[in-house]
Symmetry: C2
DNA sequence: TAAGCTCACTTGTTATAACAAGTTGACTGC
DNA sequence: GCAGTCAACTTGTTATAACAAGTGAGCTTA
C-alpha cells in the first residue's frame, strides 16, 4: 500500500525542488542529513538521491555534494536548418559558444564509411566540438567530413559549420537526413558532458548530402536529455 | 585505476548481450548466481544489474528475474506526417496495432487550455491510446481535442487519427508544431509501458492547427526511449 | 606570504543480514 | 483429475558497518 521509503523521500525532495525550496544549482542535504531528517539508513537516503539523479533533477559530485540540475531546457528548431544554432539559443536568452576539441584526418570507421558511401578506412576528417550553453557544457558534436570537404573547411575552423557557411565556400548542402534518438551515457561522454553513467542523452544523428546526392557529412550531436530538446514545425519559416 | 566491481560485471554482461550470449527476451543470471560467479556480495551483483536496467538493456520483474530488453528500435518518420503510423511500422517489419484506452469529455487543464487558446476548464475531449509494436506496449498517446473536433471524431474512434482521416471528415489540419524531448518514467506511465522508474522516455508533444490558424489538437506521444526514435528528412517525400 | 599538510565532510564502493513480496512448480488432499 | 497449499526461488526494501576517494577549509611550516 504505502510506497517505499526511498520513493517517499525523493518525491518530497522533488516537490521541494519544484516549489523552489532548492533552486537551480543549490546543494541538496547530504546523505547524512537526510538520514537524520527522515530517520532512515544511509542506503535509503542514498537511494532517494539516486532517484533524483536518474531522473535528471540532480547531479552528485564525490566530495562536494548533490546539486540541483539547471531545469531550463534549450530548444533547437529543426524546421529551419538554415538558422544558426547561435540564433536559436539567443532567442531563448541563452549565452551560446562552442569550442573545437579536435579536427584531424582519420581513417573512416565502418559505420562512417557506410554513411558516406566510401570505402572502409578511406580518409575523412574527424571534427569534435563542444557546445556551451550559459557556460555549462551542453552538447558534444562529433562529425565526419569527406576528405574534400575537410580540406576546404579547415581554414574556417573558428566558425560554426552551418549550411550558409558551407554554401559560401562552394559546398552547397542540398538535403539532410536525420534521426533523433535517446541513448545513455557511457564513460566516454561523461567526461565532456558531466553526466552520470546511465543518464539519458539525446542524439541527433545526421547525414548531409551535396547537390549531386553525394553524402558529404555524417555526424551526431549528443546532448544532455535534461537540457536539450528539438522542435519542428510544418509552417514554412516558423520559429516556434 | 581499476573500475568498480559492479561496472566490470555489468560491462561483461553487456558484452555478452551484444555478442548474443543472451538474446532478446532471455533471462539473465539471477543475483544469487552473479554473486557466486563473480564472488561478490549481493549489493554488487544488484548494482551491476541496475546498471543494465538504467541503460535500458534489461528489465527486472520481481519474482521472475531479469530479462534482456528487445533491442530493435522503431523509427517514426516526421518528414512525412501524412504517412500513416502503421505504414511506417510496416516498412520496418513491425506488427503495429493500437487500442483506445479512454475517450471522454473533460475540463481542460491549465496547460491544455493555454495550448488550445481556450479558457481554463473549457470542455475538451481527452483521448488516450496505446500503441503496440510486435505485441508489446510501445507508446502511449494522450491528446486533447477541442470540443467540436471531439464530437466529430467520436464515431471514428476505431480509426487512427491521422491528417487524411481528419481532412476526410471536414477537419483539415494545416500545420503542426512539435517538440521532441526526453523525460523520465514516473509511476503513472510505468503501468502502461512497463518501464522502471526513472527510465528514459521520448515525448513527442504537438499542437495541430486548422486552416484558420486555430489550434484544434494538443497532445503528446510518450514512448520508451529504447524502443522508439524519430527521423526526418529535408527531401520532400523521402522515406529514410 | 606562499606552499604544503591535515582534518572534517562529502559521495562511492562493498560486505553481511534480514524480511517483504511476487512467481512458479510441485505436492497434497479431496 | 483438480484445486488448493506450500516451498523454493526471484527481485525489492531496509539496516548496520567499514573503508576508499575527492574536496575544501584551516592550520602549519618554510
Amino acid at each position: 500500500m504505502s510506497p517505499p521509503l526511498h520513493i517517499s523521500i525523493s518525491e518530497k525532495l522533488r516537490h521541494q525542488i519544484e516549489a523552489g525550496v532548492y533552486a537551480s544549482g543549490d546543494r541538496l542535504p547530504s546523505e547524512h542529513q537526510l538520514m537524520e531528517t527522515f530517520s532512515v539508513s544511509r542506503i535509503t537516503a542514498r537511494q532517494a538521491v539516486a532517484n533524483l539523479v536518474s531522473q535528471g533533477l540532480a547531479i552528485a559530485y564525490r566530495g562536494k555534494g548533490v546539486f540541483v540540475t539547471p531545469q531550463k531546457k534549450v530548444t533547437y528548431s529543426l524546421s529551419s536548418p538554415l538558422v544558426f544554432l547561435e540564433q536559436d539559443m539567443a532567442r531563448q536568452g541563452v549565452a551560446f559558444s562552442f569550442e573545437n576539441l579536435e579536427f584531424e584526418p582519420v581513417a573512416a570507421p565502418r559505420d562512417v564509411a557506410a554513411a558516406l558511401e566510401i570505402g572502409k578506412a578511406s580518409p575523412v576528417y574527424l571534427q569534435k566540438k563542444l557546445f556551451r550553453m550559459d557556460g555549462a557544457a551542453g552538447a558534444v558534436d562529433v562529425s565526419y567530413l569527406i576528405a574534400d570537404l575537410g580540406e576546404r573547411f579547415a581554414p574556417l575552423l573558428e566558425q560554426q559549420m552551418t549550411f550558409p557557411t558551407l554554401a559560401q565556400h562552394g559546398i552547397p548542402i542540398d538535403c539532410l537526413d536525420a534521426v533523433i534518438e535517446c541513448t545513455h551515457a557511457d564513460y566516454d561522454l561523461s567526461g565532456y558532458l558531466e553526466v552520470p553513467l546511465g543518464h539519458a542523452l539525446m542524439v541527433y544523428r545526421y547525414t548531409a548530402y551535396s547537390s549531386n546526392q553525394q553524402p558529404v557529412l555524417y555526424g551526431s550531436t549528443i546532448s544532455r536529455a535534461d537540457r536539450f530538446c528539438y522542435s519542428l514545425s510544418t509552417r514554412a519559416g516558423a520559429s516556434a
